[in-house]
């Protein structure tokens, strides 16, 4: 399991970053419907069974908009120790894990027992520069993600942020 340092936990619990997240009306049904549609498009374009938007809170990730997740328990999120998207949010860059079973930080991740095997995620950066989560795809087989697949993911992540901005509480 990945080891998170106090510095990591402090960064996830940053009041400014959480305020940026709390500025969105995250429970709005239309928002979730739009994020579901983006996830479905991402999964279709990259030909992977699961795509989702994960918002990284202080101690857990929160799924907001997904495709294909229901077959894997439809979890509302995951503890940050188990979250793969943390690995895109922590450095603020793309994260690719072609085979979870071979990854030193994830080889014992409970998600492997659910049948998940590969991951690619790209961070969601607000206009103010806060990294609030990641848009990602998950596969049930080992997969080397291509540059063009990552470009699709980045375009979708930009679309997610644009969509979130339209659902500000103010």
């Amino acid at each position: 399991m990945k080891q998170l340092t106090d510095a990591d936990l402090d960064a996830f619990a940053s009041l400014d970053r959480l305020r940026a997240l709390a500025a969105y009306d995250l429970a709005h049904p239309d928002l979730i419907e739009e994020l579901d549609a983006i996830a479905a498009h991402t999964a279709e374009q990259i030909c992977q069974p699961i795509a989702l938007t994960n918002l990284v809170l202080d101690t857990a990730t929160l799924v907001k908009g997904s495709y294909g997740l229901d077959e894997y328990g439809g979890a509302p999120g995951a503890p940050i120790e188990w979250s793969l998207c943390v690995r895109a949010v922590r450095p603020g860059g793309d994260c690719v894990i072609p085979d979870l079973t071979l990854d030193p930080e994830e080889h014992d991740n409970p998600m492997i027992a659910m049948g998940l095997r590969s991951y690619a995620g790209t961070p969601l950066r607000t206009l103010d520069g806060h990294v609030i989560g990641a848009h990602c795809v998950l596969g049930t087989e080992a997969h080397d993600f291509t540059a063009s697949e990552l470009a699709v993911l980045r375009t979708a992540a930009d679309e997610v942020v644009t969509t979130l901005e339209r659902y500000g509480r103010d």
């Binding site: 959480l18 709390a22 202080d58 101690t59 979890a75 503890p79 188990w82 409970p110």
Partner: protein
């Protein structure tokens, strides 16, 4: 994967003390006042260790200001994740014994 009576895949079931640590980490010097308000709203004194106490506290957190509500949401996800995996491990143990 580590499994014992209280830890599943490195996760301990959140309790009131863990919630206090989460509030402290987010709010720093402002945490004491926010924590006191949450305890009043939940009808707790902060020393409780039973599962019902964290349920009441999470209800209060999710009804509080937006950032506190997100903190409560995160803890609730940790509770659900822990319970699901602990149940799965228990089922696995019962079918193999």
């Amino acid at each position: 994967m580590t499994t014992n009576a209280s830890t599943v895949a490195g996760l301990t079931r959140p309790d009131v003390a863990e919630a206090r640590r989460a509030v402290d980490r987010i709010y720093g010097s402002q945490a004491a006042g926010i924590w006191a308000e949450l305890l009043v709203a939940a009808g707790l004194d902060g020393t409780e260790t039973d599962p019902a106490a964290i349920d009441r506290l999470l209800d209060a957190m999710r009804s509080a200001a937006p950032v506190t509500a997100l903190c409560g949401e995160a803890l609730a996800i940790r509770v659900v994740s822990y319970d699901r995996l602990a149940q799965a491990h228990e089922l696995e143990r019962s079918t193999t014994s």
